[in-house]
């Protein structure tokens, strides 16, 4: 589907990554490298959340960049560059999961024993060997990861795009091939599920907020 001239103009002006991609379209290798550098961490993180393995995520991220390169001549800025990139990533992740499911090689969602009886996740006792604050941080990470793992594949993708890529419903819909209204429902269900799963932990008060703050500030423990 071709984008209108005004759309192309809009995204070319508004999104520097679109301009980079247009240079890639014109065979500018430096621009391609710049895009790889700008997006690699975000892309690998997104794919790692989807697949539960950083190694596999790196491999798939390279596959995504290869597809970007191969599609460069057909590229038209009908959306933000990140939306286009994550659309490719979503397809690659779906294919990878299908392949893995066929092989029954690994449990793709590392810990999703029961999707039906949703119960709040109970924190394990902090290790006596670790300072309390550090143990709390590690525990928080584990618990949040467990909760995210229990989301469905689509819920997880929508959550990651909204939370970490700050995409709007329309953009998430574009990436995932859904109507914005469907994204709205999907995200509402996802957030409710997270709320239920994390309830036990959250009821412990403000611990989360302060832990996250100290993490961001690089506080040692």
């Amino acid at each position: 589907m071709g984008a209108s001239e005004s759309t192309i103009l809009h995204y070319t002006e508004a999104d520097p990554d679109v301009r980079l991609m247009l240079k890639v379209r014109d065979d500018n290798a430096q621009a391609f490298q710049e895009l790889v550098e700008r997006y690699q961490t975000r892309l690998v993180s997104l794919l790692a959340f989807q697949l539960g393995s950083r190694d596999m995520a790196e491999d798939l991220a390279q596959e995504v960049f290869l597809r970007v390169y191969r599609a460069r001549k057909r590229y038209e800025p009908g959306a933000k560059f990140s939306t286009w990139l994550f659309t490719i990533a979503n397809n690659v992740a779906l294919n990878a999961r299908r392949t893995l499911a066929r092989r029954k090689e690994v449990s793709v969602s590392p810990s999703s024993p029961d999707r039906t009886g949703m119960q709040p996740i109970q924190p394990a006792a902090a290790s006596g060997a670790m300072p309390t604050r550090q143990a709390d941080k590690a525990e928080l990470q584990d618990i949040v990861r467990l909760a995210v793992d229990q989301l469905s594949e689509r819920q997880r993708m929508a959550v990651m795009l909204a939370k970490f890529e700050h995409l709007g419903y329309a953009e998430i819909g574009e990436v995932m091939g859904l109507q914005p209204s469907a994204v709205k429902s999907l995200l509402a269900r996802s957030r409710e599920k997270l709320r239920v799963l994390l309830r036990g932990y959250l009821e412990r008060g403000d611990a989360i907020g302060s832990l996250i703050d100290s993490e961001e500030e690089g506080e040692p423990t």
Partner: protein, 524 residues
């Protein structure tokens, strides 16, 4: 956005989802100003709604605790390199049939990327494709998966090395030293060195390694972890070098057994397994002593070729005709090659020369021109090309006839291992359509194995015990399960029944690969 108005009152159960959607959309900044204000009013008026939106927001904020995945330090370089390779390949594919002028234009990005990559990243030393990444990471376990899988656990390996050191001469382990060193090196090397090592492999070996990688990747994670753990335990052992050699030796011995026996061994307690292997060592001992590395086989192959040249120089048309006729009767649809005639002549000469004088009347009449002295000289040249440990073994044989049988066994083995005939060409050109269909019904590995077996059986006609043309026997090739030493007639009672080992791989030399079909995939 879907903008139905929020219900001003506390909703019924059926409306809860709809309200939650509005609250979440509000938090996500997806509502219009008007709807946002309505939600804000609701929050200020209804504590339950306020509590709900707070807990939703809190859970959302908790996601900030998730760490972003970091990428490996060479991610950009390897990505650019991978894309460069793909770009180059695309251009090659696209321009193969193009006129020269148009070809040039197509090179745009590929040429730029290549230049860019070459200047910035030294492509040759840094390129790791996304698929190769897995291979490099698991290189030692991938390459030695079959060995590790057969060994199963370190305690058994220690017990086995003790047992084998008593019954197998240490000279036998010499041929495994290089491979064990490669194993050690790969286990201890960082990824860059592993990559350089793979880069230096010849294409054929790289392909095989790639197959092994696919096989390794298709194992369950548990199994992969087990093999990694065993490899690590091996590396940590005080006698790691020796244990690796005994592990390789063990795998060589066990791979000659039927799969069911191999599986049964893997599941046996150590004591029982050692006892079973004691018997197997006795059975295979002599054959083991004559195995050569790839490099040794290459040298011996050169000696064989020289001997064939000398036989070719003897004008003996009558024997040629005799061999052609025997071959035609055996394979009415096939034409015998010159190499096959020479091999059969060599075999005939050797047999005649090693016959006791009393058996002279059994000599085929057509070998009138065979001069036993000539064979003695040829055999002597052949033996000189063998590694000294094997020369010693031959020298210790109880008589000349046994020595000749050992030499012929080595020739058969070497010809099979160094054959350059391609199984796929053989498949396409030599098999009937019916035969092709039969082969195609097999799995890829089975097909390759059976093709290679049949190919070598036909190529080495005359070096096979059963179906020996010169003995006028009938039958289709040798038994797959005949692993004992052929020259030991006291073992088998069938001294002429020799030929290359048919089941399982041969030696691996310096970076060499196993002969034999299919990827190096361990069996469960």
């Amino acid at each position: 956005m879907s903008d139905s108005s929020p219900n001003p009152k506390r909703p019924h159960q059926a409306d809860q989802d709809s309200v939650r959607e509005q609250l979440v959309a509000y938090l996500d900044g997806e509502l219009s100003d008007e709807l946002s204000q309505a939600v804000e009013r609701q929050i200020s008026e209804d504590d339950a709604v306020k509590e709900e939106i707070q807990s939703l927001d809190q859970a959302w904020n908790a996601l900030d605790a998730l760490p972003l995945a970091s990428t490996s330090h060479d991610f950009t370089k390897s990505t650019i390199a991978m894309v460069t390779m793909a770009a180059t390949q695309d251009v090659v594919n696209a321009t193969t049939a193009m006129p020269a002028l148009r070809k040039k234009r197509r090179w745009g990005m590929a040429a730029l990327l290549v230049t860019f990559t070459a200047a910035g990243f030294l492509l040759s030393s840094l390129f790791v494709s996304y698929r190769d990444r897995q291979l490099i990471r698991n290189l030692p376990e991938t390459r030695y998966a079959k060995t590790l899988n057969q060994v199963v656990d370190i305690e058994f390996l220690k017990a086995w090395s003790e047992e084998a050191s008593k019954s197998i001469p240490s000279s036998r382990l010499t041929s495994l030293t290089k491979e064990a060193e490669t194993w050690q090196m790969l286990s201890a090397s960082p990824p860059t060195e592993r990559f350089r090592w793979t880069e230096a492999l010849p294409p054929e070996e790289m392909t095989q390694l790639s197959d092994q990688s696919i096989a390794f990747q298709s194992l369950t994670k548990l199994k992969q972890d087990r093999l990694r753990e065993l490899n690590q335990q091996l590396g940590e052992s005080d006698t790691a070098d020796e244990l690796r050699r005994y592990a390789l030796l063990y795998e060589q011995l066990v791979s000659k057994l039927p799969p069911i026996e191999q599986a049964s061994l893997r599941n046996m307690p150590t004591d029982e397994r050692i006892s079973r292997m004691r018997k197997e060592v006795r059975r295979q001992r002599d054959r083991l002593l004559l195995e050569m590395t790839d490099d040794e086989q290459k040298l011996f192959r050169q000696a064989i070729d020289k001997v064939l040249e000398r036989i070719d120089a003897v004008d003996d048309e009558r024997t040629d005709t005799f061999i052609r006729e025997m071959y035609r009767r055996r394979y009415p649809d096939k034409k015998i090659s010159k190499e096959q005639i020479l091999l059969l002549k060599m075999r005939g000469m050797a047999r005649i020369a090693s016959m006791p004088e009393t058996d002279s009347e059994r000599r085929p009449f057509s070998f009138a021109k065979v001069n036993p002295e000539l064979w003695n000289s040829l055999q002597s040249d052949l033996v000189k090309a063998l590694p000294s440990r094997i020369q010693d073994e031959i020298a210790e044989a109880k008589n000349k006839s046994k020595q000749t049988q050992m030499v012929l066994f080595l020739i058969g083995n070497t010809l099979q291992s160094t054959s350059t005939t391609d199984a796929s060409t053989y498949f396409a050109e030599e098999l009937t359509q019916k035969e092709q269909l039969e082969y195609l019904s097999l799995t890829k590995e089975e097909m390759q194995e059976k093709l290679e077996e049949r190919l070598s059986s036909e190529m080495l006609e005359g070096f096979e015990g059963r179906g020996d043309l010169l003995n006028q026997r009938r039958g289709r090739g040798p038994s797959r399960r005949d692993e004992s030493a052929p020259w030991r007639d006291e073992v088998e009672g069938r001294p002429e029944n020799f030929g290359p080992p048919r089941n399982g791989p041969g030696q691996r030399g310096n970076g060499g690969q196993r002969r034999g079909p299919g990827p190096n995939q361990p069996r469960d």
